[in-house]
């Protein structure tokens, strides 16, 4: 195991040992001391991992808003927590802290006054920012726009819960919880650091993939039970699309497993750390396939047919409002987050710092930092796709999945097998340095060559290279099929 200055699991274990020895160990059930300590440790680790994920999810949402705004030449969300104590346009909520009993609101009032001094409406920074039309008002450490998502989530809590009259009430109520529960279960096996994982079991990747592919079932439930034609179409689309993309996903993950020789996620990361090469330099094709398939799995543009805003109003969650929609919204981003973390773990060496062996003192940075940084870096690509690409049609997305991604993933699996069997140096247990260099350079050249897809002859003749739909007679009502 890589040593980490945050040795979270051992710290928790020692603390829980202390607790249980001083409680259970004193009593006459002293023989249960270890099991109680173990249970408490696992519970605490689950809570901490999930808490870390949920808090950093806000960062993800914030990044999406800001980056999308920048791509679109806008400013993105700008709401800051300042509006809590500075009201809207000078209208404040009064000194509400005086209503708190026992004078407990006095420190809050003093804090508010101090914050008004620093970042209030009448502060010179505020005035300057307004004049200069700055992207944030006031001071930077209030993280403008960061709390917008918090406000959205809290607003969902207060919305009325509506169930359509003709809907299948029980399935309608169960579907969101099915989706969010399975999404949260994914994070049981995703480590955030060498000693910062809630569960480190063999076959963890298998369980991960199994749980990851349950949520589409909830999506189909939601679409069907809403008794709405748009949601029904959305549910059917998502079922078809996700079945088409599960198989390439599993085969791609299998190639990584073959390369690393273990079904255990922690061991996959450790293998990358020990053998000295990240998988992305050995399986570039696998990395591309993984991110493309994951974009389809989490239903983002260009593969967001189930909630295609243009033709199906809001897709399969048209009928959902209030907190249940908020849960679905959160689970969408949690799945995206899981995809980013998995990419970081599978291909970017997980928690290993870049050039960890060469750069001195870099291991003093806690490894959890690298995990999050890598995951957020991958999320930038997700936002980039959404800003730059269009939405593909249903038949096109299925055709793409079956005719391109599946064969490519099989090719990738074969490559991984060959590499593991022939190129891997089992004696020194590391990759000969020539292999990643060769593979990376070759694939880079291939990428550059393939990205030049201009067909001057077709452009000159103005033929239609992408006419995927053949129409016999072009007269209204005549051209069917």
């Amino acid at each position: 195991m890589t040593e980490d200055i945050i040795n979270m699991r051992d710290w928790v274990r020692t603390a829980m040992d202390f607790v249980s020895e001083n409680t259970i160990g004193m009593s006459r059930h002293w023989e249960y001391t270890d099991s109680v300590a173990w249970f408490l440790t696992e519970f605490m680790m689950c809570v901490m991992v999930f808490g870390g994920i949920m808090t950093t999810l806000l960062v993800l949402l914030w990044m999406e808003r800001k980056l999308l705004g920048r791509f679109m030449d806008r400013r993105g969300a700008r709401t800051s927590l300042r509006s809590l104590w500075v009201g809207e346009n000078g209208v404040t909520a009064g000194e509400w802290w005086n209503q708190l009993p026992f004078g407990t609101g006095v420190p809050i009032g003093m804090l508010n006054k101090a914050l008004n001094e620093i970042a209030g409406n009448d502060h010179k920074l505020e005035a300057v920012s307004r004049v200069q039309n700055r992207s944030y008002h006031g001071v930077w450490w209030l993280l403008p726009g960061f709390f917008q998502n918090l406000a959205d989530g809290m607003k969902f809590l207060t919305k009325e819960h509506m169930v359509p009259e003709k809907a299948d009430r029980y399935v309608f109520e169960i579907a969101p919880f099915l989706i969010i529960a399975t999404t949260v279960m994914c994070f049981t096996f995703i480590p955030l650091g060498p000693n910062f994982h809630s569960n480190n079991s063999e076959m963890s990747i298998l369980f991960l993939m199994a749980v990851f592919s349950v949520a589409p079932l909830g999506v189909f439930f939601a679409g069907w039970s809403s008794n709405n034609k748009y949601t029904l179409l959305g549910g059917i689309r998502s079922a078809a699309q996700l079945t088409a993309y599960e198989i390439p996903l599993l085969v791609t993950v299998l190639s990584v497993v073959v390369l690393s020789g273990s079904f255990n996620l922690v061991e996959v990361i450790e293998f990358q750390a020990d053998s000295g090469v990240w998988n992305i330099f050995l399986l570039p094709l696998g990395a591309v396939l993984f991110i493309v398939v994951m974009v389809a799995e989490v239903e983002r543009i260009p593969f967001d047919m189930p909630e295609a805003e243009a033709e199906l109003v809001e897709g399969w969650w048209t009928e959902y409002g209030g907190m249940r929609w908020g849960l679905m919204f959160a689970s969408e981003y949690l799945r995206t987050y899981a995809a980013c973390l998995l990419f970081a773990h599978f291909f970017l060496g997980g928690w290993e710092a870049p050039l960890e062996d060469t750069i001195p003192f870099i291991h003093y940075i806690p490894h959890i930092t690298w995990v999050f940084l890598k995951a957020w870096f991958i999320f930038i690509f997700f936002v980039w796709f959404r800003a730059a690409l269009h939405r593909v049609r249903t038949d096109q997305i299925l055709e793409f999945g079956w005719r391109w991604l599946l064969p490519l993933s099989l090719v990738n699996l074969a490559m991984a097998t060959v590499l593991r069997l022939w190129a891997y140096d089992g004696v020194k247990e590391e990759w000969p340095i020539l292999v990643p260099i060769l593979i990376s350079s070759i694939s880079l050249v291939l990428f550059i060559l393939l990205s030049i897809d201009e067909d001057p002859e077709a452009l000159e003749a103005q033929t239609r290279p992408f006419s995927v739909q053949t129409v016999d007679v072009a007269s209204p009502g005549q051209h069917r099929k």
Binding site: L233, P302, E311, V313, H390, R464
Partner: protein
């Protein structure tokens, strides 16, 4: 899956406005369509019978919210045909500038509404960004942001403001560069080509027979344009050619209709740059409002039984006003105002055009015909 009717609208992202498209689908395939209009029918034709010839102009501005100037000018030419008015040369040039600016803004609004139809929000926001420039220029002319009330019977309300020509040239040159950004975003994107090419085929002759005209016909490979077929302004003195697209063998698809509008934006920008140079009296001089150089003396009353009509190249097709003036003792008001709206005729054709394609093609095809419900319902 069995066939079922889906009612898209009145509140639906696909309908750029307020109408209902009833679609009969079999699985993902469209089997039958039925448009249902009239959700914002305001009875403009009836209201205009109680207004005099100048009071009608604001209503014509509000006919189509995406292109206000073209509609008010369409009415103005018909009213001048009714009242037998000669318009000074300079006023014609100023009108041409206003109309072409509005055409650019309208096509930008179309492109901005078309990008989310094929699933991209960035293009929409970029197009709205450039539309703001055009609206600023027209705001200098008309004084308002969207509805300008600019033309008058016999001329225009105001002369070009001082420095307008310089600002207009600068912004149009910037805009001509920005068009390449859109082409980089859309034409370079394989997904956009896959979505727009090969869907929504329409042929020129049947479109003309169905009453569809304007850019949709020019996309089908014939350069018919009211601006040279029934000329009405100073277009003979500018050097321009109606932008025509080379369609595929089966007819023009959504991609052609997108290309021809982009070309029209370029064409209009060059047309304005040319007109500002050729403007009589120079584009820098300023005449006071009411000056005979920009506003001719026009009679306020129409003769007995006089009628006037005028075909106008709107940004969506051939629009037309038919004014029946006179009637006993009410020569100040038109007796009957009849408005020919291109989209009112085009929407049924577009609805028929999408039969046989997928559900995801409905926004792509309907958006490519550039529907505008304000003029459709009147």
């Amino acid at each position: 899956m069995a066939e079922m009717w889906i009612s898209m609208g009145p509140q639906h992202p696909m309908t750029h406005g307020l109408w209902t498209l009833k679609v009969k689908i079999d699985g993902e395939t469209v089997v039958d369509t039925e448009p249902d209009l009239g959700y914002i029918h305001r009875g403009v034709e009836k209201i205009c019978e109680a207004r005099d010839f100048t009071q009608i102009i604001p209503y014509c501005d509000r006919l189509c919210y995406a292109s206000a100037n073209t509609w008010s000018h369409a009415y103005i030419y018909a009213a001048e045909d009714l009242l037998e008015v000669e318009v000074p040369e300079r006023a014609e040039y100023i009108r041409m500038v206003a109309v072409e600016l509005q055409r650019i803004a309208s096509h930008l609004m179309w492109l901005g509404a078309y990008c989310p139809d094929v699933g991209n929000l960035t293009g929409m926001v970029w197009c709205l960004r450039e539309r703001e420039m055009m609206m600023d220029l027209m705001q200098e002319l008309g004084g308002s942001r969207m509805h300008y009330n600019f033309p008058r019977v016999g001329g225009v309300k105001r002369d070009l403001p001082i420095g307008f020509a310089m600002r207009c040239r600068a912004k149009l040159k910037l805009f001509l560069d920005r068009i390449q950004e859109y082409e980089a975003l859309l034409d370079e994107s394989t997904i956009f080509l896959v979505r727009t090419q090969g869907v929504g085929y329409a042929k020129a002759e049947e479109m003309i027979n169905h009453g569809v005209s304007g850019p949709n016909v020019r996309a089908a490979g014939h350069n018919y344009d009211v601006r040279w077929a029934h000329p009405y302004s100073v277009y003979d003195e500018l050097d321009w050619e109606p932008s025509v697209e080379r369609p595929s063998i089966k007819g023009s698809d959504c991609y052609d209709r997108y290309r021809v509008r982009v070309e029209e934006m370029r064409q209009s920008a060059l047309m304005i740059l040319d007109g500002l140079d050729k403007m009589p009296g120079g584009s820098e001089t300023y005449h006071e409002p009411g000056d005979p150089a920009i506003l001719a003396k026009a009679p306020a009353r129409a003769a007995e039984g006089q009628t006037g009509h005028h075909h106008f190249e709107d940004s969506r097709g051939e629009s037309m006003f038919y004014l029946a003036g006179g009637g006993e003792g009410r020569g100040k008001h038109p007796y009957r105002v009849s408005i020919r709206s291109p989209m009112f005729i085009t929407i049924p054709y577009a609805a028929k055009c999408m039969i046989g394609y997928k559900i995801a093609d409905i926004p792509a095809i309907m958006g490519s015909f550039d529907p505008c419900i304000g003029e459709t319902d009147r």
